[in-house]
Every structure is written in C-alpha cells, then in structure tokens.
C-alpha cells in the first residue's frame, strides 16, 4: 500500500444556469478584466488515501465522485492530479 493525494475539480454542468459564476464574471469585468468571457465556480476536493497503486487511487476516487462527491445530475468532475505522498 502507498499513500496518494488525489485532487478533484467539481464544476456546475455546462449549460446550466450558474448564478454564482455569472456574479463573479460581472465583478471581474467591473474590476477592469474586460477579457473575461465566462467563470464557473465549483469545488476543489483533495482526498488522501491508501491504495495499492496510482491507478487504483484514481479509480477509487472516480467511484467516490459518482456516489457522493459530485451529483451527476448537475455537476461534472475531473481528476486534476494524483500524487504519491
């Protein structure tokens, strides 16, 4: 067994109304960041876990996303990184 740190990005599904992202978009433009086209605000979850290898750690985290960390009705997720500790 080795220990891994797996980072997951969870964001609102594209196409769904994202009022938080829109509010941040507007605020950034107000600040003068005129090039900002779109902002999505989501969650960044970091899981530290023991697993036999990297691929198991990633697969297990995907299972966690499907069952709890993300709601597939409204959110998309991606594994941002898997690092050995």
């Amino acid at each position: 067994m080795s220990r891994f740190r797996v980072a997951v990005h969870i964001v609102p599904r594209r196409g769904l109304l994202d009022p938080q992202g829109k509010a941040v978009t507007d605020a950034l433009r107000t600040l003068g960041f005129g090039g900002v086209q779109d902002v999505h605000v989501g969650r960044h979850v970091v899981v530290e876990m023991d697993a036999s290898d990297r691929s198991v750690a990633e697969r297990t985290t995907r299972d966690m996303c499907e069952r709890l960390l993300a709601n597939p009705v409204i959110e998309d997720y991606e594994i941002a990184s898997v690092s050995a500790l």
Binding site: P12, L16, L17, P19, Q20, A23, R43, L68, L69, N71, V73, I74
Partner: protein
C-alpha cells in the same frame, strides 16, 4: 395514523411538523432519529426542513447516507407515503427518490417569504383536498431551491402530471409562472413516478393556522390522511 418525522443533525422544522400533525391534524406523530433503523411503525414518513449536516458538500448529500435512510427508501419503495419538505426535498433528490436537483437560488439570496402556489394536479395522494388551479399561500425559506432537471426529465414529469405545485404570481400577472428561486418551469413540488413521494420546497407545516398567516398547508396533511385512512 402514525406520522414519523425524521430528525437529522441540523433539521430545524421537525418540531413545527410534529405540531402540524399532532395539534392541527390530530394524528399521532413520532420523531425518528437518523441513526436508528426503525420507522416505529409509521404509516407516513416526513423528511422535514432544515440544514442537515450543515448543507456540507451539497444540500442533502450527506443526509441521504444516514442510517435511517435505508428504511425510508424501503418505505417509499413499498409505495407508502413520503412527504419531503425543503431540505427533505433536497435529500429525496440526492437519494434518487425524485428526479432532478435543487441548486442555489438564481438571486444567490436566501429567500424567506410567503409565496403563491397553484395546484396543478389535485388527484395525487398529497393534493386531493385541493382543486386544480386553486391558489395557495405557503412560505418558502431556502437558499438552494432552484429546481433543475434535464429536458427529458422535465418533459416526462410534465407529461405525467407530476408537477403538483407551481409558483405563480409575479409582478403584474397573478397567474403567470413566476419563480422566486429560478426553478425550471416554476416548479415548487413534484411527485415520484409511483405518486407516493412528494417533494416540495415550500413549508406546508408553517401554514396550518390563520394565526401563522395562512392555513393553506393543512390540505396536504388532510389529503394524506384521507387517502391512507381510506
């Protein structure tokens, strides 16, 4: 008839719901602790409003894994009545008992006010004491009440008459769809495919006496009573 009201850590409408059942309806009410695996012989189960588990991760996401949810899901699967109010609605969606999800209000504000609802289906287990088109005043109190589902799901629940309550009465047009939280199709409450699970964001237990500003919520409890006692 016995109504079981589930108390999760963070539930805050369980007591109001208890009072609505015991004092207004005159039926037996019991609290069900979320860590138990016992519905105590309840004929009807209610998932009350509140902020179970502090709304951590997503509203209702953690509560759906509470021990008692195994029995609650089995109760619903048997076709027995389950009334899921506000946070209960969020939990029921997370548990897959109802389609869709409740997202952050489009205003990004917590909205706490009486709203107007139109009864869209008066033949469900939960709405038989109303008439179709009847307007109700029932309060909402939520930050995450924007009902959201994909187009297929929306057209299915609309086609099957599963939208029971809809928000109406925006500025200027009392009958038009109008959503205080950005809900798709101004949906305030839906039933499951089998019709025995109702999820709604408004709080009928807070509208059971004119002293509270409205008694329009009583009909939901009376409808359940009429159907289950029959």
């Amino acid at each position: 008839m016995r109504f079981g009201i589930v108390t999760f850590p963070g539930s805050n409408c369980d007591y109001d719901t208890y009072r609505a059942v015991a004092d207004v309806l005159g039926e037996e009410a019991v609290y069900l602790w979320h860590k138990d695996h016992d519905l105590q012989g309840s004929d009807v189960v209610i998932l009350p409003g509140g902020f179970s588990y502090g709304d951590y991760l997503r509203a209702g996401a953690i509560a759906r894994f509470s021990p008692i949810m195994r029995e609650v899901v089995a109760h619903a699967d048997r076709g027995a009545p389950l009334l899921a109010i506000c946070n209960g609605f969020q939990i029921a969606c997370e548990a897959g008992l109802l389609p869709g999800a409740l997202l952050r209000n489009d205003s990004l504000k917590f909205v706490c006010e009486p709203v107007r609802l139109r009864v869209e289906n008066a033949e469900t287990l939960f709405s038989s004491q109303y008439d179709v088109g009847q307007l109700l005043t029932i309060p909402i109190a939520h930050g995450d009440g924007r009902y959201t589902a994909d187009e297929d799901t929306l057209s299915r629940i609309e086609g099957e008459g599963r939208v029971v309550f809809r928000y109406v009465g925006g500025p200027g047009d009392a009958d038009a769809w109008w959503s205080p939280n950005g809900s798709m199709h101004a949906i305030a409450g839906i039933v499951s495919g089998a019709g025995n699970v109702l999820g709604m964001m408004p709080h009928p237990e807070r509208a059971v006496d004119e002293l509270l500003g409205s008694a329009d919520g009583v009909g939901i409890f009376e409808s359940i009573l009429a159907r289950v006692a029959a």
